[in-house]
């Protein structure tokens, strides 16, 4: 199963010694590859809603893959994506949950009230402390914004 994922998302290592990957270009590359894959599979009849979901999933996947293991939210997002992938293909529900020490919302009285909403929004936010949550939110916001800009420019390019 992991090999399947890797085949889809593997980018060959760049042999140029001066190669410094730019985050935005890596993200664009991955997303466009994913789009290409989706379009390649298009002849199979898919309802528009399914396509939408595929594209959205591709968007989040490209975000998570370019961020890699550097951030908690990208790791959590990748795990979530892989779980769903397994679910969809194997119809198995054997999800091994990582044991994390999660303090429920009631036991975190020093946080502001809306912190729980933020935890729901940011992937992997449930088990982070408030301090780390803010840091992850900042990074997640930046990635989301670049993803939105990328998709917007794609839409503009295709519809002009």
């Amino acid at each position: 199963m992991d090999q399947f994922m890797d085949r889809k998302n593997y980018t060959h290592r760049n042999p140029n010694p001066n190669y410094t990957p730019n985050y935005n270009s890596m993200q664009s590359l991955r997303f466009i590859q994913a789009l290409a894959r989706i379009n390649r599979a298009a002849p199979k009849p898919t309802t528009p809603s399914r396509r939408t979901k595929q594209i959205r999933r591709a968007a989040y996947a490209s975000m998570a893959y370019t961020s890699g293991s550097r951030h908690n939210w990208s790791r959590a997002l990748l795990i979530r994506l892989r779980q769903r992938q397994r679910l969809r293909s194997l119809r198995l529900l054997t999800v091994r949950r990582r044991v994390r020490i999660v303090t429920p919302a009631m036991s975190r009285p020093e946080e502001p009230a809306r912190a729980e909403t933020l935890r729901r929004l940011v992937p992997g936010g449930k088990s982070m402390e408030y301090c780390n949550l803010l840091e992850e939110t900042a990074d997640y916001m930046q990635c989301l914004r670049s993803q939105v800009q990328l998709m917007q420019s794609l839409v503009d390019a295709f519809s002009s």
Partner: protein
């Protein structure tokens, strides 16, 4: 009260003793005959505040000779000097009226600097100019009247008097620190974390946190304060990220704005993915079938009849790859380049006249296919081209 062992050790090291019982003599008097250098040897570790015999030790005057510069600038020295000066703040305040303002400003500034410097990496106390600043300490020492009662009373006023007594920022730092230590010694002499923090010269692996004026100094509140400052620093960073939040103040409102912004971004992703999926069905599936990666995709392996086509397309795709990579930032540019290349490709594939007419009607499909093709091949073709192109694009 007893000095802790570290203090005693440093006293021994410096070889001086400050006399507090007879400091009362010096209150309000200037002792021009005092010299820092004339310090007799000390007896050692059993030195205590209340153990200084009268008259056997140098009296520290309010005016120090300029030879203080050759006094060894030592952190412990400064510590103790400042500490001693803190003990009778109540008495000294009147005398130090002249230096109040400048000192207060400096201490406040140094306080700000110190607050900024709070971090996990150890803070090194800068021992700059301590020779001169020790003069300032000594000045107060000379005029200090140390009693046990006054020491205890001065603890309350320590926060205020620290600023008055310190003349330079390092001194202000150590007075604040000493006040910290004082409070602890008064309350609980065994707060190890704070003691370790005061041993700045020796232990750098601890979190060096300065207690601010008039704030509690036990370890819990210090950790809490560090955490709160981290949170506020991150909120400020988030404030810069979220557009239109420069004038919003307060954590609650800021948090609402952040949540709204993240939600709006996620909704935008959904909406744009719907739009993208709406664009795709406009593709004519004939075109898709003909121009699909079955021609160009090495994974699927081109059929024998189309082998020549793939050869032809390779050179053009290289160009398109480069163009696409060039225009990665501005995808519309690459789309234009693709359009040109698409034309060239279609004309070359003479056996595929039918899609030409269809393609001219549906440029969307053209972009789509060519982008698919080009980006599919990016991974497989011309590795050598990619670095160049990436360098140029990034």
């Amino acid at each position: 009260m007893e000095i802790n062992d570290k203090d005693k050790f440093e006293l021994e090291k410096n070889g001086y003793r400050l006399n507090y019982q007879n400091a009362g003599f010096l209150a309000g008097t200037s002792m021009p005959d005092l010299s820092w250098n004339a310090i007799p040897g000390t007896s050692g570790p059993n030195l205590g505040w209340d153990q200084n015999p009268l008259g056997q030790f140098p009296k520290l005057g309010s005016f120090l000779p300029p030879s203080i510069s050759d006094i060894q600038a030592d952190s412990g020295f400064i510590e103790r000097a400042a500490k001693y000066s803190c003990f009778n703040g109540a008495n000294v305040s009147a005398m130090l009226g002249s230096i109040n303002n400048s000192v207060l400003d400096q201490s406040k500034r140094s306080e700000n600097l110190v607050e900024d410097g709070i971090n996990r990496r150890g803070l090194e106390r800068k021992e700059t100019g301590e020779g001169a600043s020790s003069g300032g300490c000594g000045q107060e020492e000379g005029t200090s009247v140390a009693n046990a009662k006054k020491r205890k009373r001065s603890n309350q006023g320590n926060g205020v008097n620290q600023g008055e007594e310190a003349q330079r920022s390092p001194v202000a730092n150590c007075t604040r620190e000493i006040a910290e230590k004082d409070k602890i010694e008064k309350k609980k002499p065994s707060e190890n974390q704070i003691k370790d923090e005061s041993d700045m010269a020796n232990k750098d692996e601890y979190v060096h946190i300065r207690a601010r004026r008039g704030q509690a100094t036990n370890s819990h509140s210090l950790a809490e304060r560090v955490r709160r400052e981290k949170i506020s620093e991150r909120m400020k960073y988030l404030q810069d990220l979220v557009p239109g939040c420069s004038k919003v103040t307060g954590k609650a409102v800021m948090l609402d704005e952040i949540i709204n912004y993240v939600q709006s971004l996620q909704r935008q992703v959904e909406f744009l993915s719907m739009k993208l999926s709406a664009i795709n069905p406009r593709l004519d599936f004939n075109i898709e079938g003909i121009l699909s990666k079955s021609l160009f995709d090495p994974h699927v392996g081109p059929s024998s009849s189309m082998a020549y086509l793939s050869d032809q397309s390779q050179t053009q795709l290289h160009r398109s790859q480069q163009n696409l990579l060039h225009g990665m930032a501005g995808i519309v540019d690459s789309a234009d380049a693709l359009r040109r290349i698409a034309n060239a490709q279609l004309i070359s594939n003479t056996g595929l006249k039918e899609p030409l007419t269809q393609m001219s009607n549906a440029w969307d499909g053209d972009y789509q296919n060519l982008m698919q093709v080009a980006f599919q091949d990016l991974n497989n073709y011309a590795r050598a081209e990619m670095p160049n192109a990436n360098n140029m694009s990034s």
